[in-house]
Symmetry: C2
Subunit: 138 residues, 2 copies
Amino acid sequence: MKIGELARRTGLTASRIRFYESIGLLGEVGRRANGYRTYPSEAAVTLELINAAQKAGFSLDEIRTLLPGELGRWDHDALLGTLRRKVAEIEALEAKLAASRAGLLTVIGQIETRPEDIDCTANARRVLGSILGGLDET
Amino acid sequence: MKIGELARRTGLTASRIRFYESIGLLGEVGRRANGYRTYPSEAAVTLELINAAQKAGFSLDEIRTLLPGELGRWDHDALLGTLRRKVAEIEALEAKLAASRAGLLTVIGQIETRPEDIDCTANARRVLGSILGGLDET
DNA sequence: CTTGAGATTAAACTTAACTCAAAGGTTAAA
DNA sequence: TTTAACCTTTGAGTTAAGTTTAATCTCAAG
């Protein structure tokens, strides 16, 4: 199949597919006599795999080190290790996000519950204190 | 104070402070006769505020629209709206991360629980199916 | 007087993951 | 035959948030 059809099948742009090839994600790509790239249908699976891995948070660099030449022969242990490390990364990110969200909710609370009798400047100082003291303690 | 001292006080690099000025985050910056920048001690508070906002997930562009000229006069309603929107963004991101993590754990499970009697290729197909079918359903 | 630290500028470089444009070759259909 | 739809390559542009470099200036101390 030519690149256009592969693009249609996978939902990626042709330029993106060429880009993946250029950074070594696709290995050797066949050519027809006229110079056009030609792909086996397996290529669609590879591209969808790359896509899925990206959505799971892997960079193209990481994906390249994970993808075996032949779809179907992985280094099980290395793969498992990488997957577990990625889960840990995601968990760390989740913790940071939770902290950020909590900090923002605190600030929102400070702004919302401003005592009626306090003036703007004093309230700003109060809010500022909560931001600088509490939001960047990561 | 000169830029070097401000940098030392805030923990930012001088180049970063100049960069913030260049994109309009710091408003007017005073100059001495010799051309050196000169800052009031308030500037440290502004920089720490920027830093805290960044850590909470705001882009410099967003921060610029939030920062008032004078530290202490905010548009309360706009600020509250922005903060709430950012909390919603964070929650969306948290949901995506949770989905990613769950997907990865599924894949890890698939790899780990490979039946002893199945060969590598068949297992790869099985795992591949779970990845392509389950990981990119976001 | 010289040395070293610190200040100035503009412009280029960095990373990631692409996209876009230009200029041209190929092919199927009308 | 001509036109439209594909394909090719190379190289530059994009975004974000800075960093780095180079060339030059200022200033305080010894």
